[in-house]
Assembly symmetry: C2
Homo-oligomer: 177 residues x 2
């Protein structure tokens, strides 16, 4: 697995079930959403802007994409949520199994972030991101081209305690309208 | 990571939050439980019995243990559940990173099972078990000695479709009374 294959597999529309475990309260949160992942060209204006904000040479990027989501959570029954973010992989020049991931908006905090990713021997994408007040660790893997799983952990910024552990099962949606 | 270290880390009492995604119905199930894992001696009568039923030489086993659980699910509000099972690792003679796991009762079906386990380079315990009408794939990993995660997939016996994907976050409980 490498970033090219990973992004190619990820493109499309996904129907997601996500469970979050808020560990301090033993609370369960249930989220259903639709996720769209579409490719962007490396010279897309927003990709160039994001590179510039991190002082990254746009020539070093590969397979930028936009991820959008819309769904609802049982945490707040009355409100649907939606969002969109741009993600720009920057593979390490000397190692195709790792690199950085620029993002114009994070999961844990709604600010830009830069994460470090690598692939494990069994094809897991692992992304580590440090925020000002938290750390995020995410693992994504494909059971088959139409089914992927994702485990996300939000830890304290010291990395000692896990605050939230969440799990997504994502099924490719054949209709993309 | 090997089976000795893995079983040692697993011993004790765990407070578990589990979310099951029943994919065909997009149904969420929430389970809270307490799990106790206690070591057994290799010459414990039930361990010997289990070995004999699989025609495994008891001399080949390592670190057998008993796992018990008690909890409740929102699938059926009125009923608490509990159970217990004996697990007997049989490390491969030529490779400490893999082996078989005998169990006197499975998760997916309440019959004895024999699974095959291995450890990945990043310390994940992976267990594959074939049942008569289903396959189970389980991954367990430790974030630290007091926090472990578990992803379990139940697949059709052909292995093509995932029926249920579940996720457990397990926190070591300091009181063992």
């Amino acid at each position: 697995m490498d970033i090219t294959k990973f992004v190619e597999l990820s493109l499309g529309r996904w129907s997601s079930q996500r469970s979050a475990h808020h560990l301090a309260f033993r609370h369960f949160e249930q989220v259903t959403s639709t996720i769209d992942i579409v490719p962007l060209s490396v010279d897309h204006a927003e990709v160039i802007n994001l590179c510039q904000s991190y002082q990254v040479d746009p020539q070093l990027t590969a397979h930028p994409f936009r991820m959008s989501w819309a769904g609802e959570s049982d945490w707040d029954d009355t409100e649907k949520f939606e969002g969109t973010t741009i993600l720009v992989p920057v593979p390490a020049p000397d190692n195709p199994q790792m690199g950085r991931l620029l993002r114009d908006q994070g999961y844990a905090e709604t600010i830009p972030s830069i994460g470090h990713y690598h692939f494990t021997e069994d094809g897991f994408f692992v992304l580590l991101t440090e925020y000002e007040r938290a750390m995020a660790e995410e693992r994504i893997w494909f059971m088959n081209p139409n089914f992927r799983l994702r485990v996300s952990l939000i830890k304290t910024s010291q990395g000692s305690g896990v605050v939230t552990a969440s799990f997504s099962s994502e099924i490719r949606s054949l209709s993309e309208d």
